[in-house]
Symmetry: C2
Subunit: 205 residues, 2 copies
DNA sequence: ATTTGATAATTTTGTTTAAATAGTCAGTTT
DNA sequence: AAACTGACTATTTAAACAAAATTATCAAAT
């Protein structure tokens, strides 16, 4: 037996899925509420029954993706053989995430630095999760005596994430865009793994 | 005795200096050619006798600054005690350069990704100089046996510069600006030195 | 409680106009 | 001839407005 609330959640999910597909293929600004509604054979008004506005719909999709991403990260980092492997897992998972959802982030390219605060919060949440999981990984390795004691693992992970981010950024600077071109993603990934190698070695005895 | 060409060069220099002061205090877009001419008690038309247009004037100033920056770097990297010191010198010199000329780069904030190609060339030139000088430093330390042999020093330096750049970038992301706020420069500098520490250690035996 | 058609409100896009500023040039001064 | 200028033109920027597209609302229907 399915309650009314269940039904509502199912419909919400259906809308999220349809919206995700539209955003993924056409980007935020070239997706209209009419089209999303059309895909589901619903009236546009109903979308507003389930979501306050278009940006909130986009954000809801993004939140879902972020949740899946973090879940994925948690699963992979549950066990690992050494620190490098743990960090490499993060780099890989992020890479796959970006590749898969590349066009979804069209919103970022268009809206650039004026992203709504909520989106920055989601990004911050992702980063916080990465920070927690990776610094936990450092602690584990530290306790095993594989690396020398680290006074502040969070600071180290934060720095590493910044550094990895730099590899992404310099791949786009002096281009007209802020978000990397799809063709550069592989190159970025390779450089990141190299950086990781050196950085990890720098943490060793 | 001063030739006509000397005189022309002197006047060119005077214009560059006046333009630099205006750009430094008011930024590119809030500086008019009339004002620069006024500062020198010259007609605006004369500026166009010496420089083809406003952007070329700005670029000429920038080129001069870049030359001084690179010269500075060469002097400092002529001798050093260890690799960390050499890299730290680069970070420090760049830091001081940005702090000193902070407002001059207003053009970057405004124009963002649509900077004229020539400016990207100057930036590339600076980066090339950094690359050459720092990879030479690596070679020196390698020959002294202070670090383990490096197959491709340029690649390593390139990566490090990207990573250091990431520290700058993350200090501005989710802010409305692309160029860091002046208040963040010290924080960026500190984080960079920390990153440098780890990175260098990663290159050691 | 869920859904919609019709309608209102807002955002985006394009156009016009005026003001500010960049850029030119014929002619003057050194 | 090289250095320079006043007066002019051309371009860019900003503001104001209108039309079109799209978002968002709501009273009524299921």
């Amino acid at each position: 037996m399915s309650s009314a609330v269940d039904q509502q959640d199912i419909k919400r999910e259906k809308i999220l899925e349809a919206a995700y597909q539209r955003f993924l293929h056409y980007g935020y600004s070239k997706t209209t509420m009419n089209e999303i509604a059309g895909d589901l054979s619903l009236s546009k008004a109903l979308l507003y029954y389930y979501f306050p506005d278009k940006s909130q719909l986009y954000i809801a999709v993004m939140r879902k993706l972020a949740g899946e991403y973090i879940q994925n990260l948690e699963n992979e980092l549950r066990q690992f053989d050494n620190l490098k492997e743990a960090f490499a897992a993060q780099v890989d998972i992020q890479h796959n995430f970006i590749v898969k959802n590349y066009n979804f982030f069209d919103f970022f390219r268009v809206n650039e630095q004026n992203l709504p605060d909520t989106i920055w919060e989601i990004i911050a949440e992702i980063r916080r999760a990465e920070l927690v999981l990776l610094s936990a990984a450092i602690r584990v390795e530290e306790n095993k005596g594989h690396i020398k004691p680290v006074e502040n693992p969070e600071q180290i992970v934060d720095l590493l994430i910044d550094a990895l981010h730099g590899v992404r950024v310099s791949a786009v600077s002096h281009k007209k865009v802020m978000f990397p071109q799809k063709e550069h993603l592989e190159e970025i990934h390779t450089k990141r793994l190299l950086l990781l190698n050196i950085f990890i070695k720098g943490l060793m005895y």
